[in-house]
Each structure stands twice: as structure tokens, then as C-alpha cells.
């Protein structure tokens, strides 16, 4: 389905409903090339989890060509069953423009706006200009990203350059805003300012518990790209169910699920799940979270944060605490990845995935 830039706001109201996870690339044993079957595995896994969309994390040590290939593989596997987005957290605006053009042709529907680390705007106008340039280059829907990693604190203490975003919000294909950190007043400002003009989403685990209020007061309807696998497996899709109940106004059922998964939150959200505050995500841990409920797994390229046994044990403990049995496999298997392991065993990858269904 091809949607024009000017129809994107209306499109979003129908299309962006549910949970969007983040998909990370998988690699060959020597880490030199993408593992297509591993990537496809994770797309099928996102479908099995009940997510409505998957966001390709391209800021994972890929060349521009690899990022394009990654997006193409995901779109091909997802076709008709899952929306695909990707992150504009690249090294330059030129790279972002190139990826936007490619992603549109490949079948992506939307993308998460970001700014290169080298972008040091002197005024909100500069933010607006660069964002408008990205938006006008594409028919994709764009999701604004409220994140402290852009270091916009000099424009507003919340780190949100409201002056710029107020104007950006009016661009026709700016469809949503991801609230990516947990400061409640920032979330409030974002929902108040933009709740009527676009789909402000739940973009951080800290806001999960407020989803009923955010739904009621501002019509929140989707969770933006994140490791929502933290709280569920395909057999026990707690968070997807939580979302469904809130959307149906069944708050009591939703709250029961929230408390069912609370032990995992308490274990994971302490010192384990660092990332946002460092301005860089813990890709190996993100992949481990996904692997522990049936994802492909496998190592990530440098530079990456390190994954240690304590973190893996904590993840297993968190799963047990919410009634999900962690994998039988030894953690050493995680580093290989399931698609590669299947090939090494002479087993068809698709068969292996069915066998390992969670």
C-alpha cells in the first residue's frame, strides 16, 4: 500500500495501534556480513509475539549498504503481516536521506526521527530546517523522538526543543511522537502539546503503568519501538494483552496483567537495563532479551556494551518470576544465534524455529 505524504496523519490513526518492537541485525560467524536467515527469524518472531510493527535498529555498526539490505530483508519477510520502520539515528543527514529513499522503495511505512551526534544546532530554527528537509524528502510517516541523547537541553530544560517541535508537528507526514524517557513532566508536556495533533506514544517502559490514563486523557494507542519482549513471550503475550485490554476500556483486566508482570519490571529496570541514560543502547542485552523468548540471538558488532553472566541470569530470573520458562540452552548458544546453529546442525532454519516455538 502506498500512502502519500499528505495522507500520513490520517493513515497513522488507523495503522499505528499496538506494540512495535525493535529488531536488531544478525551476523555471520566472522561478523563480516549480515545473516539473512537470522534476520528473517526475528521478523517471524515479532509476528508471533503479536506486535503490529517492527523497527529496524540500523545504528548497530552497519555500513549504509548493509543498513539498506537489513531493511529490505525485514520488509520482504514482514510483507502484509507487520509494518516496518527504522531509526534515523545515523552518522549524517546525508545517510539518513539515502536510507529514507531506500526504505520507502523497500516497503517501510514509517521511521523514527533522530539527529547525528555531530548536529549541534545553534537555534530551534536549525532543528526545524533539518527535520523539514528529512520530512519533505519522503512519503513515509515520521515519528518525532523525545530523547535526551540529542542534548537539546539548552533550548528547554526538558531537553525537548518545543519551539522547533511545535512547527515540526505541523508537517503533513509527521505522524507521531515517541516519548523516550521517563520524566513525568516531560511526558505531560508532550501529551498536552501534541496529543491532539498527532499520536503521542508510550516510548519507554516507565510509562507502561500510566497507559490507562494516557489512553483516557489523550487517546494514546501505541507503544513505539522498544524491547517489549522484556515482558512477554509468544505463548504469554502479557504486554500485548495489556494493551488490548486498555484499548477496550477493560482497565481491571489490564491492571491484573500489569501486576502479573511487575516482578520482571522490578528485576530488569534496576541497574540491569541501562542504556537510555548513556545515549547508547545495550544491543547485546537487547538481543539476549529477544533470544530468551525465542528470538535468533547472536553477537553484535563493536562498539557495543558488554553482556555479562549476571545480566543473563537476571533476565532468566525475571522470566521465571512472570511464569515464562527461559531457554533450555546454555547461554553460550546465545552468541551463535539460532539460525546459524540450525545450519550447523544441518537443520532447515524454518523447521528449527517451529521446533523452538515459545
Amino acid at each position: 500500500m502506498s500512502v502519500g505524504r499528505h495522507e500520513r496523519k490520517a493513515w497513522a490513526r488507523d495503522a499505528l495501534v499496538g506494540l512495535e518492537n525493535a529488531i536488531m541485525p544478525s551476523f555471520s560467524a566472522d561478523m563480516k556480513s549480515l545473516d539473512e536467515e537470522g534476520i528473517r527469524w526475528d521478523v517471524r518472531q515479532a509476528i508471533a509475539q503479536g506486535f503490529f510493527s517492527t523497527m529496524c535498529a540500523v545504528e548497530t555498526g552497519l555500513t549504509t549498504e548493509e543498513a539498506k539490505r537489513f531493511i529490505s530483508i525485514v520488509c520482504d519477510e514482514a510483507k502484509g503481516q507487520l509494518l516496518v520502520s527504522f531509526t534515523l539515528l545515523n552518522n549524517s543527514f546525508a545517510e539518513s536521506l539515502e536510507l529514507l529513499a531506500h526504505a520507502e522503495a523497500a516497503g517501510c511505512s514509517h521511521a523514527l526521527l533522530g539527529y547525528p551526534a555531530s548536529f549541534r544546532p545553534r537555534s530551534p530554527d536549525e532543528i526545524y530546517e533539518k527535520t523539514a528537509m528529512l520530512a519533505e524528502s519522503t512519503n513515509l510517516g515520521l515519528v518525532m523522538y523525545v530523547s535526551d541523547k540529542f542534548d537539546f537541553g539548552r533550548f528547554h530544560p526538558s531537553q525537548v526543543p518545543f519551539e522547533a517541535y511545535d512547527r515540526v508537528a505541523d508537517l503533513p507526514n509527521i505522524v507521531s511522537l515517541k516519548v523516550g524517557f521517563g520524566d513525568p513532566a516531560t511526558a505531560y508536556e508532550c501529551f498536552e502539546r501534541y496529543g491532539e495533533r498527532m499520536l503521542v506514544n508510550v516510548g519507554t517502559p516507565w510509562l507502561i503503568g500510566l497507559f490507562p490514563l494516557l489512553r483516557e486523557k489523550y487517546g494514546a494507542q501505541w507503544f513505539g519501538g522498544g524491547a517489549w519482549e522484556m515482558w512477554q513471550s509468544p505463548d504469554r503475550p502479557y504486554l500485548v494483552d495489556y494493551h488490548r485490554h486498555v484499548m477496550a476500556g477493560e482497565y481491571d483486566q489490564a491492571r491484573a496483567i500489569y501486576w502479573r508482570i511487575a516482578p520482571a519490571t522490578q528485576i530488569m529496570m534496576g541497574s540491569i537495563a541501562r542504556g537510555g541514560d548513556a545515549g547508547m543502547y545495550h544491543w547485546p542485552f537487547g538481543k539476549y532479551v529477544s533470544w530468551s523468548v525465542g528470538g535468533n540471538g547472536g553477537a553484535m558488532r563493536e562498539p557495543a556494551q558488554r553482556l555479562n553472566p549476571m545480566m543473563m541470569q537476571s533476565r532468566r530470573m525475571a522470566l521465571r518470576a512472570i511464569g515464562i520458562e527461559p531457554p533450555d540452552e546454555d547461554d553460550s548458544q546465545f552468541w551463535i544465534g539460532r539460525a546459524r546453529a540450525a545450519r550447523a546442525n544441518g537443520e532447515a532454519v524454518a523447521t528449527a524455529q517451529l521446533r523452538s516455538a515459545w
Binding site: P157, G209, L213, W259, G270
Partner: protein
């Protein structure tokens, strides 16, 4: 309405009284920490009123003997007068000790008490929790406010750590008036407001969440916490924020919030990692108050230690929101009243 009302009138009294911010009072001591410093305590009460708070919670779990706890509360009540609320933390070591403290506090003129549970209290059921709270509540005409905190270890009764069955019953008692939700989990905060807002004045200590909560609930106050971390008497950002919120001037309230955000950020950077310890950093909290004119001074062991880099961060955070302290940090360690006495002046001169 007078502060001295019967137990049966406490809910309506609280509705009038709980508007804005309640801070925390910590005791002050003489230089060798062997005795309470009455003048230092009085300075902090006057200072709290200057900040524009509606009341102050006496933190008695600061290394005081039972007699000193009572004396601390008596001094605070005397200085506060009739138009200002003084509450106490019911965070003693035993039920009996807290019953005695509550009786003495009521006599002294204290208005309400924050229900906590001793370390050694290991209830087998929520009935035990209810009975514990009920005995305290029924012993007094003071208001009781419930405390939602993970330090009580009630996770076995509900994953949120809130013993909802017990608190539901306690909430119905005539002098149980309010609830301080001390945790940061959004789902837990939501659940507390949903369940108790019809009967109690529920609040969150997370001041940034209050504008959003007010969309659904009549949140009228926040406390008890050290709001001096965010403001000074001449720059009452947090008090102004709450005032604007209560008068439904929300845009203005957010202006005050963003004005004080730099201080909030430095406070959370230092204090948030300490929250899971189940104890408070009394000396740093006193330092926050001292920077805008509070008495300051250390508290007795056991107490967390003060590091120079923490002082610099807190000072910088407050300076960023317009609260400039001209005094050197070395004066903090003694407290203003001790410093004034040592230098041969009157303690009041410190103010």
C-alpha cells in the same frame, strides 16, 4: 479550622489543611551531637513557614531517644503555632513506642502522623497490618496518613508492595486522612489513586507527575519531602507550582516546574540511587535546607556520609534555579545556630 479537632472531623479538616507542600524537619544538635539544639530546630520551623509550606513532618527516626523525640516535636509545635501543621513519622522501633509518641505529640499540638512499620514487624497477613495501623489510629485524635513505601517489605501481599486489602480497611477509619505514595512505579501510583482518591487525599512524591495526575484526580498536596532541594523562600518555585496547579493555572505551573528542573535533576542524580536502601540521607537533606537559610548541621550516627562532590552538585543545582548561598560549606557542618553562638552572636542573627 483549628488544628485541634476530634478524630471524627479529621477527614474534613485534612481537606482544608492539605494544600500545597509539606516538608520534612530533621533535628538539630549541639556541636558534639549529645543534645538537641532547640534554637536550631526553631530556625528550621520558621524557615519552613517562610518557604510557604503548609506543614512539616518531624523525622524522629534520626537517632533520637524516646524523650528526645517528644522534645523535638514539642519544640516544633511550639514554634509552629496554631496556623501551621506539624506531623510526625511513626517510624519507631515498636508499636508501643509509637503509641507513646503519638500521645505525647497530640498533647504537644501535632496534627497528623505518617504510618510506618518497624523493621521487626513481619505480618503474617494483611489483617496484621490493618490491626497495627488501626491501633495507632484509634489511639489518637490526630490525622493519620498512610505511607506507600517499599521499605516495609510487603511485596508478598501484592507485587506493588502495597498491602491493598489492609489499606482499603484503614482508609475507612475516620481519622485516616491521606496517602503518601512514596514509590516511582507508574502503575503503582495509578493504582493507588484509582483505589483511594474517593476517600483519601492521595499524593505522589514525584512532583513532575502531579500535573498529569490532576487531569484525573483532585491532587491537592505533595509531601512529605525536602522541597527545599528545589527552591528558596525568595524563589519558591515548587510552592508556586502547586499553588498555580490548585488554581488551575497549569501553564504557569509548568513554567515554575521548568524553572526548577535543573535542581530537580541534580537532586535525583544523588538521591535516586539511595532510594532502594530504605534509609534517608539526613545530612544531605539538611544541606539542601541549609543552602537557603535552614539551620543545617549533621545528624547522629548511624548516618550516611557527606562527600564534597555531592555538596558541590547540590549547591550548583540550586544556584542554577536562583538560590545562591553565600556561606562556606564548613559552616554547614555545625549548623547556623551553633556557628552564631560560637562567634558570640545570637542564633537569630543567622537568619
Amino acid at each position: 479550622m483549628t488544628n485541634r479537632v476530634g478524630a471524627g472531623d479529621r477527614k474534613s479538616w485534612a481537606r482544608e489543611h492539605f494544600n500545597g507542600i509539606e516538608n520534612v524537619l530533621m533535628p538539630s544538635f549541639n556541636p558534639d551531637l549529645t543534645e538537641l539544639d532547640e534554637e536550631g530546630i526553631r530556625i528550621d520551623v520558621r524557615q519552613s513557614k517562610r518557604h510557604g509550606f503548609f506543614g512539616s513532618l518531624c523525622s524522629v527516626e534520626t537517632g533520637l531517644t524516646p524523650e528526645e523525640k517528644v522534645r523535638f516535636v514539642e519544640i516544633a509545635c511550639d514554634e509552629a503555632g496554631n496556623d501551621y501543621g506539624i506531623s510526625i513519622s511513626l517510624a519507631g522501633d515498636t508499636l508501643e513506642g509509637d503509641l507513646e509518641l503519638l500521645a505525647a505529640a497530640e498533647k504537644a499540638g501535632a496534627t497528623h502522623g505518617l504510618l510506618s512499620f518497624p523493621q521487626a514487624f513481619v505480618p503474617k497477613s494483611q489483617d496484621d497490618i490493618y490491626d497495627y495501623g488501626r491501633r495507632l489510629a484509634e489511639s489518637t485524635n490526630m490525622g493519620i496518613y498512610l505511607f506507600v513505601s517499599d521499605k516495609f517489605g510487603f511485596g508478598r501481599f501484592h507485587p506493588s508492595g502495597v498491602p491493598f486489602d489492609a489499606y482499603e480497611k484503614l482508609a475507612d477509619l475516620p481519622n485516616v486522612v491521606a496517602m503518601k505514595v512514596g514509590g516511582m512505579d507508574a502503575g503503582m501510583i495509578y493504582e493507588c489513586f484509582e483505589r483511594f482518591s474517593d476517600r483519601l487525599l492521595v499524593t505522589s512524591v514525584n512532583i513532575g507527575l502531579i500535573p498529569l495526575l490532576r487531569k484525573s484526580y483532585d491532587v491537592r498536596w505533595t509531601g512529605a519531602w525536602t522541597a527545599e532541594a528545589l527552591q528558596g523562600p525568595d524563589q519558591p518555585h515548587a510552592v508556586n507550582m502547586m499553588k498555580a496547579l490548585l488554581e488551575n493555572r497549569t501553564d504557569e505551573a509548568m513554567g515554575h516546574y521548568w524553572r526548577m528542573a535543573p535542581a530537580l535533576r541534580t537532586m535525583m542524580a544523588i538521591m535516586a540511587p539511595l532510594m532502594p536502601t530504605g534509609a534517608y540521607h539526613w545530612p544531605l537533606l539538611k544541606y539542601q535546607q541549609w543552602l537557603s537559610g535552614g539551620n543545617g548541621g549533621l545528624t547522629r550516627q548511624p548516618a550516611m556520609r557527606v562527600f564534597q562532590h555531592n555538596l558541590q552538585m547540590i549547591r550548583g543545582g540550586l544556584a542554577a534555579v536562583g538560590v545562591q548561598c553565600p556561606d562556606p560549606d564548613e559552616d554547614f557542618f555545625l549548623g547556623r545556630s551553633n556557628v552564631a553562638r560560637l562567634r558570640g552572636g545570637q542564633a537569630q542573627a543567622a537568619e
